[in-house]
Subunit: 517 residues, 2 copies
């Protein structure tokens, strides 16, 4: 009667009460559900209990139950008539610092019903985690940040539901994956101690709460599952990513990397998992250059430079006139400039080779990527030497983190056979360009696999597979978190990584081949 | 550090966070509590979690935790500084149809801090369960009944706390025992189907809820334990009574009887428990006579009639001038009239022996118990033949229920060795008088033991002993409920019981002895 992979919607047909079988309504339903789910404890919310006697009689004790599970108990979060075939939806949310992505899932079929995204409205307070945490410490600051994201989500839920013509009341479950700070702000928990030594979150495994108690306006009985974190710098979004990548279930040792301002890395297999996170700087996300912006129409996402003519072939999203460049575009640009001989192994512009594209503005060298007459802004789109230096530091940090985590288990980056790149940003990166600048190791290109929004993918799994809940806790409890102590060895690796592709070019044999083409 | 019998208050001293031990605040506390309590799952309410980081730091990770347990999990319901010695109170409530009794308990020492009682304000809607259930079916009726009891409790809590100068915020746990209907009305659950065949409550084991969600204004994190019921006619007050009497733990077979309009009976020992409930009519509680009233100053609670002079010796509560008679007074009166030869074995007034006390009013014989010049009302206090007939029917029903439940296990009422009389009303009954009229079996007087307010006693135990919670569920799950089918055998027993003391006087040998004195 139920799909194997959708444990949240159960049809329950009960014997109506009689003098011989006069247990109470709640216990009649719970007993039937327990048998169906093979579950130990099933709780009913008081508000739902109030409606139960009338509903069971109206539907002649033939009902469809929507259930939810946390670490150790089941909750009944809704009932409908057994014959009702109306939508029973769940909402998965990737709660990003910059962007929030929503996916509505049919809990009956696991199918995606609709998706949408919006910029995190907390950006009005501050663009990054640090700014928001400081703001949260001001009087009323935490409340305001909390309200910004809650209202933003409610607006987005209303719009999303409108597009497929369902009522938000039909959403019976919510799963939210975000980094530790975003999760805290969403729950109204102070993030103050996250950024202060010894970096302590308020909670690692958030309790299962009602979506209502978080201010989210979906079905009033809906449960909200908030992904657990490992610590202040390793959040639920990564746990969701591991869940989605399934690296914790495979024999082969794989690595999962979320490339961003903060690089988060998990290495492991079904026997062990080790994780670390470290600051890579905003350069990899295009966040430092004056022309940098997040992906959108008119944003440069790919660049090719003809090594002979040094002609720039620019590709923009939706092929609109170029307005700026996103992170993957910056990585492409750096790789192409290097392969085209326009920057040296330190990432410095070579004036002789850059020609008229190179100009000094305010005492700093700028390379014109798109001249004003071809741009969508009416101005030159340029990248400065400082931007390039920043990118070099970021890519060196990224590679150093990979070296450190692999070294901690006696491996080297080149020993990896499966490399998952997580995150929306990561999915736009061309591995060949990332290898060229020495940001990612020189593995066969087919070793690289993008996961897209794995945080959203993991949140979706939590809504569609009961096993994933236990799995989530198992992952959380099994991970060894590696503190990235910035010691001499780390600094040596970092210094060696600040060359294109590396001080030791033998680590990147492909780059030599590519640069000769 | 903790009293053995007060498991709800635990002092927890944690290591403060460090880089080596950087688990989150919530998990740090839960881990320490789990070890202390040897508990599996401990949940923290979101609102408490929000305060946790600041409080733990303020108190240097040395705290006193107030915990609460339901059927399968522990809840953290409050924390204070470890050094805080302020009161941590629990509130036990006997939620009676007529009277509501409150007891404040110190959760640290199990000592009673204060008690109070008030008339159930739902009486404004209807004096009995039936009237209230019908009222609850009207539009807004259930809400009004719910608000009446919730507001009544809040007012009583405020007054009670004021008497001992504590803040209601210091009450961290609530335990409520009441009959099934009162429990439903208190939780806002419709009692509609309780009185309609096949008599189905909305719930047998109410979920553990927050006192706040019931509208009770004590500490906002306080949990509320509401006693489970066996069915529509066997409520949580009786489960509380069993818990308090401990008949479920003893080798000897004992009986527990709550005498009232509805007689509730439990028979059993540590191996088995059987229960039944049946209508005995309001006569036993003094509810039918014109002079009947509930206990209070000036109410006749004891009567002795000199068999020679037929002089009435009247005792009133607080020895005020008599204003009326309560149930125990009516039983005394009937017994004394019988022993004094003023009524016959059918309970009919004997005019020759009643003399001038007997008068016909509106075509019905009335016996003057207190003449107008001695009464507190200025009028004669009388009891009519109809009142006496009603008492006879009620006492016959009571005895028939005792015969039926004992017969169901192959015993007779006279085989009982331990007879617990529960309820506030029951504690005023003189067993000798009850035996004389054949309402209770002719056992040695020392077999009778009054429990006082056993419902309140059980609710108090739930607040002061962790074992009692599991015990409560064990009791509920072990009881066999005997339906009192009104069949020919029942009617035969009932008819035989309508004599004083019984058609078969050999069942009551003591009465013959007493009547000869």
């Amino acid at each position: 009667m139920n799909e194997i992979n959708t444990p949240w919607v159960r049809t329950v047909l009960m014997d109506p009460p009689s003098l011989q079988n006069n247990t109470a309504d709640a216990e009649r339903l719970i007993a039937a559900l327990k048998e169906d789910l093979q579950a130990g404890n099933i709780d009913i919310d008081l508000d739902l209990l109030k409606q139960l006697p009338a509903l069971l009689r109206k539907w002649q004790y033939r009902v469809r139950c929507i259930v939810f599970k946390d670490h150790h108990r089941w909750l009944l979060t809704g009932i409908t008539e057994a014959a009702d075939t109306g939508p029973i939806a769940g909402l998965a949310v990737d709660l990003g610092t910059t962007r929030v992505v929503l996916r509505l899932v049919d809990l009956n079929t696991s199918r995606t019903l609709a998706e949408s995204a919006f910029d995190n409205p907390q950006d009005a307070v501050g663009p990054d985690i640090l700014a928001r945490i400081h703001y949260a410490e001001q009087a009323g600051g935490l409340d305001r940040l909390n309200q910004l994201i809650v209202h933003g989500l409610n607006r987005a839920i209303d719009s999303l539901c409108a597009t497929i013509k369902i009522d938000p009341q039909n959403i019976y479950a919510l799963a939210v994956a975000g980094n530790t700070t975003m999760t805290h702000l969403f729950m109204g928990l102070s993030p103050r101690w996250i950024i202060r030594e010894p970096y302590i979150p308020a909670v690692n495994k958030p309790p299962l709460v009602k979506a209502r108690s978080l201010g989210i306006q979906i079905n009033p009985h809906a449960g909200a599952l908030i992904f657990p974190n490992i610590g202040s710098y390793f959040g639920g979004d990564l746990i969701a990513g591991i869940l989605y990548s399934k690296i914790d279930k495979k024999e082969e040792t794989a690595i999962l990397v979320d490339v961003g301002t903060n690089a988060e890395v998990v290495l492991g297999n079904r026997n062990w998992l080790i994780a670390c996170a470290g600051a890579a700087g905003p350069a990899l996300e295009g966040g430092v250059t004056r022309m940098g912006m997040t992906a959108g129409p008119g944003v440069i996402d790919k660049i090719a430079i003809d090594p002979d003519t040094r002609e720039f072939k620019i590709h923009t999203i939706e092929e609109n006139p170029p307005r700026g460049i996103c992170g993957s575009g910056v990585i492409d640009l750096a790789a192409q400039l290097y392969l085209g001989g326009m920057i040296d192994i330190r990432g410095k512009f070579l004036p002789a080779d850059c020609g008229s594209r190179l100009n000094e503005i305010d005492g700093l060298l700028h390379l014109t990527v798109v001249p004003a007459d071809q741009s969508g802004t009416g101005s030159d789109l340029t990248i400065s030497q400082a931007d390039m230096d920043s990118l070099i530091r970021s890519k060196a940090a990224m590679y150093t983190i990979l070296e450190t985590i692999t070294a901690s288990v006696g491996m080297a980056p080149k020993d990896l056979t499966r490399f998952y790149v997580a995150g929306t940003f990561g999915s736009f990166i061309d591995p060949r360009s990332a290898i060229t600048i020495g940001m990612l190791p020189d593995l066969p290109l087919e070793s690289y696999q993008t996961l897209g929004n794995s945080s959203l993918g993991g949140a979706t799994l939590a809504l569609t597979s009961a096993d994933c809940l236990a799995e989530m806790d198992r992952i959380r409890d099994r991970i060894t978190y590696l503190e990235l102590n910035v010691n001499q060895e780390f600094m040596n690796r970092f210094s060696a990584g600040k060359f294109l592709p590396h001080t030791d070019p033998s680590l990147f044999p492909s780059v030599e081949v590519w640069s000769k083409k």
